[in-house]
């Protein structure tokens, strides 16, 4: 059994918006990320997946709950102490155009993390690392003297990946890493990431709103809605046999195994504002199966089978013969 590399226990992140309201960007989520796997995190924009990623990299501080990395509680660790972990936890950002300083040469940018964390390295050694890193991500070493403006989107994203990997991390949060790239380039980058994962034994948290990409990359997938995890399971379970009505609707938009299109479930209504979340189940306002219980009680994650959980009052273990209270079948096709 794989050990958990990263664990979140009931983590909450609250903001105060301009109108002095409390906004729960992340509302008490708990999950484990196991060493060597890719956990995908999906959801609509504003569901809190990016925030989760930022919390893990210590760009944000959790309001409550705990985050454990290799068993150590890093939730409220001071920056100085966390410095030691920085090399282990890295992030790849979404926008390859904005996330690299356009005024600096690529070589300089790649050297910087080494300068910060590995003072014992001499200049020559650093240069050597930089060149190697460029090769690893598939760029010629002459790129170290170029400026970001001279690179294409795909090439820049390779640099982002290089930047993340140059410190030899064990855990990488990839926040929409290919969303800003052309479809043709996306495949290249994704394959690069997969290859690197194998080579270096990396653990990924792969955040995206693109379901096909997530399915392709992930071993397990977590679905978020309004700051909570509504379903989490293996890639196959989630993609093809989703139990939670939201997940079903979500994945109804992606292609079927055999390439055929599925029947789209179109949800009524808009996502509620995170500053004013609905009572009970956060999804109840749009759920076609909403009942009174849903309106009053917030469902906890219930185990459907090993490793597969959903937060819904009506999607627990199905017993044979029992008609589910909900008119759907496991294929995710609405009746």
């Amino acid at each position: 059994m794989n050990e958990s590399l990263v664990t979140l226990r009931n983590v909450t992140k609250v903001y105060t918006d301009k109108k002095r309201r409390q906004v729960k960007a992340v509302d008490g989520i708990s999950l484990d990320i196991y060493r060597g796997e890719t956990l995908g995190l999906v959801g609509e924009s504003g569901c809190g997946k990016s925030t989760t990623g930022n919390l893990l990299v210590h760009l944000l501080t959790a309001t409550s709950g705990s985050i454990l990395f290799e068993g150590q509680d890093i939730t409220h660790m001071s920056e100085r102490r966390f410095g030691a972990f920085r090399s282990s936890i890295q992030m790849v950002f979404q926008d390859p155009y904005a996330s690299i300083n356009p005024q600096k040469k690529i070589g300089w940018l790649l050297e910087e993390p080494l300068v910060i964390h590995h003072r014992e390295m001499g200049k020559e050694e650093r240069q050597h690392m930089v060149k190697r890193m460029l090769q690893v991500v598939g760029l010629d070493e002459s790129y170290k003297d170029r400026y970001p403006g001279q690179l294409s989107g795909g090439q820049r994203q390779r640099v982002s990946i290089a930047l993340a990997l140059i410190l030899n991390p064990s855990f990488v949060v990839a926040d929409e890493p290919v969303s800003a790239l052309d479809v043709s380039v996306q495949a290249q980058i994704l394959n690069l990431m997969k290859r690197l994962q194998k080579e270096y034994g990396l653990t990924y948290l792969f955040i995206s709103h693109d379901l096909n990409v997530v399915s392709y990359m992930s071993d397990r997938i977590g679905v978020m809605y309004l700051g909570s995890i509504v379903e989490i399971g293996s890639q196959e379970e989630i993609t093809w046999h989703a139990r939670h009505p939201y997940t079903q609707a979500l994945f109804s938009a992606s292609a079927r195994e055999d390439g055929e299109k599925r029947e789209r479930i179109v949800l009524k209504g808009d996502v509620p504002s995170p500053s004013n979340p609905p009572s009970g189940c956060p999804f109840h306002t749009r759920c076609p199966y909403c009942t009174d219980k849903c309106r009053q009680e917030k469902p906890q994650l219930q185990e459907i089978s090993k490793g597969w959980m959903a937060a819904c009052h009506y999607c627990g273990e199905q017993k044979q013969g029992e008609t589910a209270a909900l008119p759907y079948d496991g294929e995710g096709i609405a009746i």
Partner: protein, 313 residues
């Protein structure tokens, strides 16, 4: 190459137009320079003699063209008022105004940039409000008012600094700095307020950029992030405003120079207008136009050196 040729051509056209307009305006304005110089009770023969030496007895177009011709030979004519070559007067005025500009810009930059960066980094509500008030005051109090206040404080009461006069650098560097300190300060207080705003906005914008987040994620501390990434990048748009400020000061602050009795370009301008000294004014106008163009050009040049994005286009 073509680019520079076109720019130069544009400059020439601008200068020609500007000189024509100046010339024209003076013909419309009432006022005979000979009278102004010699005074109300001057002997009519003296007036005539002076008018002749000024060439005022010749027709308009002749005067204009002889001026243009002189221009190509590098001769800007002789000032009516001072009876000296215009180019000489402008050069000596430029020495003063130039020194003033250097000192003022130095102060402006030394005050403005650190303050702007600090404000962007620590811009809590109370600091912002306090700063806004202060900068409003600095901006609304005119430079000469500030000048008079400073004179009163430093020259009259404390007797630390001279209130009038200019000592050249060649003559006495320390004295030069002392004589320029107050005038520079009175201008710099206003211009640094402008600069602080620009810097603050620029830095704040840069701080929001994604690459800053990247830097933090690599473990860079805030101060290092600011210095290595943010500040360098945010100073680039500030170059434009610096160029503008420099051109402005080099144009000679007429009132400040009057208050401090500095014999600079500003003084020359006000004297040339009130004494209808056409050759001097033409020369000055030309000088001003050239300064503006040069400053713009310098800004472009600095940009191309400092900002790789522009260099590589």
């Amino acid at each position: 190459m073509m680019y520079y040729c076109r720019k130069a051509g544009g400059l020439l056209v601008t200068l020609a137009l500007v000189s024509l307009i100046t010339f024209g305006v003076f013909q419309i304005l009432p006022g005979n320079p000979a009278y102004i110089i010699l005074g109300v009770d001057a002997d009519p023969m003296q007036i005539e003699a002076l008018e002749q030496s000024m060439g005022l007895d010749k027709p308009l177009y002749q005067r204009y063209f002889s001026w243009i011709r002189g221009l190509f030979a590098g001769d800007l004519g002789t000032s009516f008022r001072y009876q000296q070559p215009v180019s000489q007067l402008i050069t000596s005025g430029l020495t003063v105004t130039g020194s003033l500009a250097v000192m003022t810009m130095l102060m402006t930059v030394l005050i403005g940039i650190p303050a702007g960066i600090w404000l962007a980094g620590h811009g809590g509500r109370k600091y912002s409000v306090g700063f806004s008030m202060l900068s409003q005051i600095s901006l609304s109090v005119p430079a000469f008012c500030m000048g008079i206040f400073l004179i009163n404080l430093f020259s009259v009461r404390l007797k630390w600094l001279p209130s009038i006069g200019y000592i050249s650098w060649a003559e006495d560097p320390a004295g030069c700095m002392r004589s320029l300190l107050l005038p520079s300060l009175s201008i710099a207080l206003g211009s640094s307020a402008v600069l602080i705003r620009y810097v603050k906005v620029s830095v704040t914008n840069q701080q929001k950029q994604d690459y800053v987040r990247t830097a933090y994620s690599k473990g860079l501390r805030k101060s290092k992030v600011m210095y290595r990434h943010v500040v360098r990048n945010s100073l680039i748009p500030v170059i434009t405003i610096l160029g503008m400020l420099t051109a402005d000061i080099l144009g000679g602050s007429i009132i400040t120079e009057n208050v401090f009795s500095l014999p600079g370009i500003g003084r020359l301008i006000s004297v040339s207008i009130s004494s209808r000294d056409l050759p001097l004014l033409q020369g000055l106008v030309l000088y001003l136009a050239v300064i503006v163009v040069l400053c713009n050009f310098a800004v472009d040049l600095v940009y191309s050196v400092v900002d790789p994005r522009i260099r590589l286009k």
